[in-house]
Point group: C2
Chain length 227, copies 2
DNA sequence: CGGTGTGAAAGTTTTCACAGCG
DNA sequence: CGCTGTGAAAACTTTCACACCG
């Protein structure tokens, strides 16, 4: 019920940035971090675009949605832009995440180092299977689901990750919402019904392959960028 | 784009279907398969749309891109539409997949049952680590990378899955392309450079979380559908 | 110069609205 | 009737092109 308080600091993050633009911002950030690590100081929109398969104009327009970062005649300073993108995408602050479902995939995600790089960390893991509860993995003790609400509170968890089989996903999702998470990554192959104030991103591995089988079958040369 | 290909035919899969439409077709198929399993015979565009968070018009337009499947006054017959969608997306035929990189995530994907459901099966797994080569997992013996080309040929592999760390991904990708795969799912957090006839879908788990942290921070209520 | 930021034009996708059909 | 398929309108996104800047 509270109003929205963007307060993102200095960026004009008021207006709505199209979703597709946000997804490209993530790609820019990923590439910029690589360039930065490689010691590159500055980059132009056309260089960055070429690296990712976009036009220079698109890079500039996209960045224009969230601020003004460039130096005419020079381009963008990598480290400055990395900082700005992280601010905008939210990864300058830590994000404690709760995972539900510690099967094959859950285990793998617990061990995935890539999350930490962007300030996400899985701080609690839950499973409905009593045989799994109590086991310690990657330093985390698997908890029963009835501890979810308390733990979310205690550990200031804002995001949940659903890694249970499809048929259980909606119920888990309801529990995460009741516990107060603000966003959910859903690895289960079902569409979740959620209150509108809870954000969701779905990752269905079979669907990704399906997109590919369509593209291959139809020899789509159409679009370029990945992810 | 000028004139239309008036009804008549069955699958006018000639013209280019926008990428965003294809991704929704996958969601329709997923939902339809669930409905079918639940015994539902028919469904209208508005029911299907409601289930997924789309408008009825969008469902009809999307389906209109790939054919004519509906019965006025009735809707769509679930089993018919499932078959048609699978034909279009390519999952009525089997897709043998080669996986490269058998770490945490690779292991989890090897055990993931969801692929089989859509006719994908991982028929070979490769790793550069000599300690892993020769191990048998899920009935598959891990092979060295130098066997990639031969195995791709022998097993008629058309798709590859890259599950190696970022720095190795481009090289692996080059090898997959050289071996003749037509499409790649890339789980490594880098953008690959590929010849234009090879299709790619990128899945970067950290980026998915990033999209969520942006959405949560900016209280985006904007868009609805997942995946 | 080389390169940004940005209006205006072109192109694409979504929504509307309605004829037509079983 | 209820619901599809589809042109036409509206909304949105990308590309173009150019003023301006260091």
């Amino acid at each position: 019920m509270t109003d929205s308080q963007p307060s993102a600091g200095e960026t004009p993050s008021d207006s709505t940035v199209p979703k597709v633009v946000v997804s490209r911002l993530s790609l820019y950030l990923r590439e910029l971090q690589r360039l930065q690590a490689a010691g590159q100081e500055t980059i132009s929109s056309s260089q960055l675009g070429t690296l990712l398969g976009f036009s220079d104009a698109q890079v500039r327009k996209d960045l224009g949605f969230v601020g003004q970062f460039g130096y005419p005649g020079v381009g963008y300073r990598c480290d400055e832009l990395v900082l700005a993108m992280r601010d905008i995408l939210g990864t300058n602050q830590p994000w404690p995440v709760a995972m539900v479902g510690v099967g094959n995939l859950g285990l793998a995600l617990l061990g995935y180092r890539g999350f930490g790089r962007q300030n996400f960390s899985i701080v609690a893991a839950f499973d409905a299977d009593p045989a799994k509860v109590g086991q310690t993995i990657q330093g985390l003790t698997i908890q029963p689901l009835d501890e979810l609400a308390t733990t979310v509170q205690e550990k200031h968890v804002r995001l949940g990750m659903i890694v249970v089989p499809g048929p259980q996903a909606q119920e888990v999702s309801d529990q995460l919402v009741a516990a107060g998470v603000e966003g959910i990554v859903n690895f289960a192959p079902v569409t979740l019904t959620l209150p509108p104030h809870v954000q969701v991103v779905g990752v269905d591995l079979a669907i990704e392959l399906e997109q590919l089988s369509f593209a291959v079958t139809n020899k789509l040369v159409k679009t370029l960028p990945q992810e």
